[in-house]
């Protein structure tokens, strides 16, 4: 696997001078786990993850906050209108954030395909933040005892095409998980067993990919809704129910880069960039 790192404006300019490679793309995230997952999906599609860093001098989280604030303002303005699925389906927030990140990156990396993903975790319709430290992570986890957690994920690719114009592909999915009632000592015990950085790295402080997390989740099936962009039936979500026993094998979904969907989107990028015969 070839991973070329882009670290600043200078490298970005140089990269656009390289012979054009239709199978290269940039991933807009600083998250190492996400980068590894996306590099693996790219390898399966014989594509090259060219750079996997966010804009130099830009803080990814600051930008995300600005976007969320803007979305909330827009949502409030729309209240007087007839609501659409877009207005009340949180997966669209994740997609909008991913889209905004890709567009921001495209200001610097003008000739590259830019892949971006984001997750928004909600509990009782409130957006959960990433914990700043271990104490906060423990507090967040304690508060989630017995509650339903919703993980919305959005992915976008902004890519130049062989026919001249840029195209934005987007997809989204939405997971609903019920946590069981657990005590404060059980939450503490959980934190002793998992890697701390994994819990600080995720929204909602739960490292779903760790087998220990299964014990904090109820036996109720996990619901996965996928948004059907561009399919018949418009944007109505399709549902799949998953046993919580396979929770630890869905790491890519909880990190916001589902493997099958990522590969499918990369296939489309390749197709859109292929020279016309």
């Amino acid at each position: 696997m070839e991973v070329l790192r882009i670290t600043g404006e200078k490298e970005a300019k140089q990269s656009s001078l390289l012979p054009e490679n239709k199978n290269r793309f940039i991933f807009a995230s600083q998250n190492k786990t996400k980068q590894e997952l996306i590099a693996r999906a790219a390898e399966n599609q014989k594509m090259v993850l060219q750079g996997a860093l966010f804009l130099p001098g830009q803080e990814e989280e600051k930008l995300e906050h600005q976007i969320i604030k803007r979305l909330i303002r827009e949502g409030e303005r729309k209240k007087s209108q007839i609501p659409t699925i877009r207005d009340f389906h949180p997966a669209f927030y994740a997609i909008d954030i991913a889209e905004a990140k890709a567009l921001k990156m495209a200001e610097t990396y003008k000739n590259e395909a830019i892949f971006s993903s984001d997750i928004v975790v909600l509990c009782d319709n409130k957006v959960l933040e990433k914990p700043e430290d271990q104490d906060q992570a423990l507090k967040i986890l304690r508060d989630l005892s017995g509650r339903e957690v919703k993980v919305a994920l959005g992915m976008t690719v902004l890519t130049p095409t062989s026919f001249g114009q840029k195209v934005l592909l987007k997809e989204g999915a939405y997971l609903t998980i019920k946590l069981r009632d657990f005590s404060e000592s059980e939450a503490e015990q959980y934190f002793r067993g998992v890697k701390k950085e994994n819990c600080l790295n995720v929204v909602g402080a739960l490292d779903y990919a760790n087998p220990l997390s299964r014990d904090l989740v109820s036996d109720r099936p996990i619901k996965l809704e996928v948004l059907e962009f561009g399919r018949k039936g418009g944007e109505a979500p399709k549902e799949v129910f998953i046993s919580p026993d396979i929770l630890s094998q869905l790491k890519d979904y909880f990190m916001g880069v589902p493997s099958e969907l990522t590969q499918e989107m990369l296939k489309r990028v390749k197709l859109l960039r292929k020279p016309n015969k």
Partner: protein
């Protein structure tokens, strides 16, 4: 959540009995289903149509 759906979720039995009720219990099966779901027959023409881009 609709009452019918809530009942379906709450009344699930042990995992091995769930598959027949439409709950995926195997990760390989899950991957297969998701691959099928997201897979689309791709041609540049179909992608352009889907994106609303007119052929010249």
């Amino acid at each position: 959540m609709e009452k019918k759906e809530k009942n379906f979720l709450e009344e699930q039995g042990p995992c091995e009995k769930r598959e027949s009720k439409g709950v995926i219990v195997d990760s390989l099966r899950f991957r297969e289903i998701m691959k099928q779901f997201w897979h689309r027959e791709l041609s540049l023409k179909s992608v352009k149509e889907e994106l609303g881009i007119r052929e010249r």
